[in-house]
């Protein structure tokens, strides 16, 4: 082992999942003591590649070298032994365990726990000090905020002696400020000689922290560059394979009468935790209102309440001047009938039934509409016909109304859902994460459809965690934090910094003081 050898090297790694070639001939070299970014769109194969390095999957072919030595990694155990640690996108923690128990899981140090836990406690104190990772080791993990859980994951890797730390989309659940804190931790790690691999699809993070960056596209590694020698535009182009218009072309909005007026809306979830706090919103015909925020700050609940899926705890929702809350119209079923469409945030969990045929998904939510019913019977020919129309108009592929929903790609599934909701010609459309997991081509198509609908005088509410998306399609932007609307901006006045501060819960009024600190 020589000092110049890279900390991690991959040579021609291949991985297939059935017909999907998730990683094609991937080669990669990561220098010791650097932060190496791997960037690519959703589904480009980044997570698969790192799961191979972590031994979660075994590569079909190819070599993995750690510190210049070939390593046979076929399970997490061997990867840990090679000094590789991973912080997964979805935390791999046992919620009912304490921090300490979570960290020792798998490296308990003997059959009896008592001594093992004592040594671990000692060692953790040292690690926490060394890397400025402050966590109470006796806290129950399920009760910790996400930012802290992530630190537990990092500690877990370090405790196992990781020299190479892989972080998979670590900032998805963090505010920009929390993300900055994470970056400071990563900086410290780099200073201490650790190697960090950062997987992300966010250009901002790559530019902010990495030394080198590798770009993946459709399962292939398309470029390796030094971060200082590149820029966002170039990386974006490499990611998608052609130059992208980051800004959607559109006219200025012509807002008209208010269609939906939300006042003082609050919602407590089943455990009595307030998820929405005194929300005030207005949605006008002919405009797109964007709701920005880190996921988990009440956006999902806002959509659920406005979509009639759950009743609010208090407050009022007026639609065309008529109060909805407490009226018998306030159910997901009847809201559709009076002109409120809803494209849900998660098409797999709610928008589609994956085991149903496309034509059966076409009537989801409209199953009792006279259009699809003949007396007692469901009219299957009408279902298929409507589905065929949707497929044609939205260019869904493959054009087969009898294919199961699970057989379509993400973008085509989203088109099926959008078609269903938009073709009912609602006056108000609620859209959650319109382009999550959708390929670039479809993103453009979907954004254009939404803008066309706006121009036709409809009111659209778009919830998205992608700041770029909100900034590019919305006319007005409201930011949610901890169940509240912390502020509202015209899209023209919005900058990433302004939104970022608001997403961290800092209100306009506080901003001056906070900024001064």
């Amino acid at each position: 082992m020589t000092d110049t050898s890279p900390a991690l090297e991959l040579r021609r790694v291949n991985k297939r999942f059935g017909p999907v070639h998730a990683n094609k001939d991937i080669s990669l070299s990561v220098d010791r003591g650097t932060i190496h970014g791997i960037i690519g769109e959703n589904g480009a194969g980044k997570s698969t590649l790192m799961s191979i390095v972590y031994g979660f999957y075994e590569a079909d072919s190819g070599e993995i070298l750690v510190n210049g030595e070939a390593c046979h990694i076929d399970n997490p155990q061997s990867s840990i032994a090679a000094g590789i640690g991973m912080v997964h996108q979805h935390f791999m923690l046992v919620d009912t365990f304490t921090v300490l128990e979570n960290i020792v899981l798998g490296v308990e140090g003997g059959f009896r726990l008592t001594e093992g836990l004592a040594t671990a406690r000692h060692e953790l104190e040292r690690l926490e000090e060394e890397y400025a990772l402050d966590v109470d080791v006796d806290a129950i993990v399920g009760e910790l905020p996400v930012g802290l859980r992530q630190r537990v994951e990092i500690l877990k890797a370090l405790y196992r002696g990781a020299e190479i730390l892989i972080l998979d989309e670590p900032t998805g659940v963090l505010t920009p400020q929390e993300a900055d804190h994470l970056f400071r931790i990563l900086d410290t790690l780099r200073e201490q000689g650790k190697t960090v691999i950062l997987i992300t699809h966010k250009l901002r993070e790559i530019m902010a922290i990495t030394d080198n960056v590798s770009v993946m596209r459709r399962g292939e590694m398309v470029a390796h560059v030094k971060t200082q020698d590149t820029n966002r535009e170039q990386l974006a182009e490499l990611m998608v394979g052609r130059s992208v218009l980051l800004q959607v072309e559109k006219q200025k909005a012509q807002p008209r009468e208010t269609l939906v007026k939300v006042q003082n809306l609050s919602y407590l979830d089943g455990d009595g935790v307030p998820r929405l706090k005194n929300i005030d919103l207005e949605l006008k015909a002919g405009e797109i209102l964007g709701i920005a925020g880190v996921s988990g700050n009440g956006q999902s609940e806002l959509l659920e309440v406005l979509g009639g899926i759950v009743p609010p705890s208090s407050g009022s929702i007026q639609y065309k001047g008529e109060e909805l809350v407490k009226s018998k119209n306030f159910t997901a079923r009847t809201l559709r009938k009076i002109g409120l469409g809803h494209v849900p945030e998660d098409r797999h969990r709610s928008g589609l039934i994956l085991s149903f045929e496309a034509n059966e998904c076409t009537i989801l939510g409209y199953q009792d509409s006279p259009e699809y019913n003949r007396g007692l019977r469901l009219d299957q020919s009408a279902m298929v016909k409507t589905c065929e129309q949707h497929i044609e108009k939205f260019d869904v592929r493959p054009p087969d109304p009898h294919l199961k929903a699970s057989g379509f790609s993400g973008g085509n599934q989203q088109k099926l859902v959008l078609a269903r909701e938009m073709e009912q010609n609602p006056d108000v459309l609620l859209v959650g994460q319109p382009t999550r997991g959708v390929d670039i081509g479809a993103i453009e198509f979907i954004h254009n459809q939404l803008i066309k609908m706006r121009d036709a005088g409809k009111a659209i509410l778009v919830v998205s965690v992608e700041i770029d998306e909100v900034m590019s399609i919305a006319d007005r932007i409201a930011v949610m934090f901890d169940g509240e609307i912390v502020g509202e901006l015209d899209a023209e006045d919005a900058t990433e910094t302004k939104l970022g501060l608001m997403m961290a819960g800092i209100r306009e009024t506080q901003k001056a003081e906070e900024a001064a600190v």
């Binding site: 999942f17 698969t48 972590y54 979660f56 999957y57 399970n75 997490p76 155990q77 990867s79 840990i80 991973m86 997964h88 979805h90 935390f91 791999m92 923690l93 046992v94 919620d95 009912t96 365990f97 128990e101 979570n102 020792v104 899981l105 798998g106 490296v107 308990e108 003997g110 059959f111 009896r112 726990l113 008592t114 093992g116 877990k156």
Partner: protein, 323 residues
């Protein structure tokens, strides 16, 4: 003194009824804490009861019978693991299938081997576990209250009753103070976390189910070679399900589960005495109501009317690596 004696005798009967429940419920605890639903406790017990009685009858040794009982239950447990862990089959269906197969197989083999209508020959002497008189039991009998309790309630049970009593603290220790217990609990809460920590989820579940099989084997052996004297068809008579109810009633924790077993066993002991007896205020309680009481209580618990049960989070879900 009369009432006191009745109470001691009732408690004595309670212990005897509770023994297989405690063992089976603890068995279920290992399985369910590891994330595998086990409604096959009944079948494993029945299989063990049959094997133990058969082998004890042939060999003349209760201990050899116990080994056979444990071995049989282990095999059934491995079958459950093979179906639910290796092949990701439905855990409820697998448990049910095991119960039905054993309910048929035990009398079928018994009939073919012994020609006694599906029973096994009556056990006596060394082929049966007999009561153990603890030291000084007779000498202390005359000491008021404590002596009587010691002689009647504590002393004089067979070895498996004491095994069951010891199994509770041992289980608690294993579950909360050892590496194995930590991993079992983790695998039932979040198998993905266990997998990424470099522990094989499937292997862990196999191990947990092996413990389940071991304990169920003792429970079944108790029925045919300690409590009874030979195998009778359907001799578990729902005890496996009752143990499952106790496990839920005890919220998947060792000591509360033991108390649930004792409570259920107590209602069983009491119902024999209450038959036809008019109680103050409520009058005569139908014996069937008392029989159904454990099940009613469990339903009430599950409905959240008496406390709230939080099952292990990953229970019932076969572990499949996600992409």
């Amino acid at each position: 003194m009369e009432t006191f004696q009745i109470i001691v005798l009732l408690l004595d009967a309670t212990l005897r009824v509770a023994t297989p429940l405690v063992l089976a419920a603890l068995a279920g605890m290992f399985s369910e804490r590891a994330g595998v639903v086990d409604i096959g406790l009944e079948g494993k017990m029945l299989g063990a009861a049959f094997a133990a009685a058969t082998v004890a009858a042939v060999s003349g040794s209760a201990w050899v019978g116990l080994c056979a009982g444990i071995l049989t239950s282990l095999m059934l447990s491995s079958l459950h693991a093979y179906a639910c862990v290796t092949h990701k089959g439905n855990q409820v269906v697998s448990g049910m299938a095991i119960n039905i197969v054993v309910a048929g197989l035990a009398p079928t083999l018994g009939y073919a081997w012994f020609r006694m209508g599906g029973q096994t020959p009556a056990l006596n002497g060394d082929s049966r576990f007999r009561g153990i008189v603890l030291p000084f039991a007779e000498a202390m009998r005359d000491v008021p209250i404590i002596g009587y309790i010691y002689a009647e309630l504590i002393s004089g049970h067979n070895i498996i009753v004491y095994m069951a009593a010891a199994a509770v603290p041992i289980t608690a220790w294993i579950l909360y103070r050892t590496r194995f217990g930590l991993r079992v609990r983790a695998v039932g809460e979040n198998p993905h976390a266990v997998d990424t920590a470099g522990i094989q989820v499937d292997l862990m579940r196999y191990k947990a189910l092996a413990v389940t099989g071991f304990l169920c084997g003792i429970a079944g052996t108790y029925l045919s070679t300690a409590h009874g004297a030979g195998f009778i068809r359907d001799m578990t008579a729902g005890k496996g399900y009752l143990a499952l109810a106790a496990l839920i009633f005890g919220k998947w924790k060792p000591v509360p589960t033991m108390f649930a077993c004792l409570l259920f066993a107590f209602t069983d002991a009491v119902q024999a005495r209450l038959q036809g007896v008019a109680l103050p205020i409520v009058g005569e309680i139908p014996v069937q109501f008392i029989q159904a009481l454990p099940y009613i209580l469990t339903v009430l618990l599950l409905a959240g009317f008496v406390g709230k049960a939080h099952p292990p989070k990953a229970i019932g879900e076969p572990y499949i690596k996600e992409r």
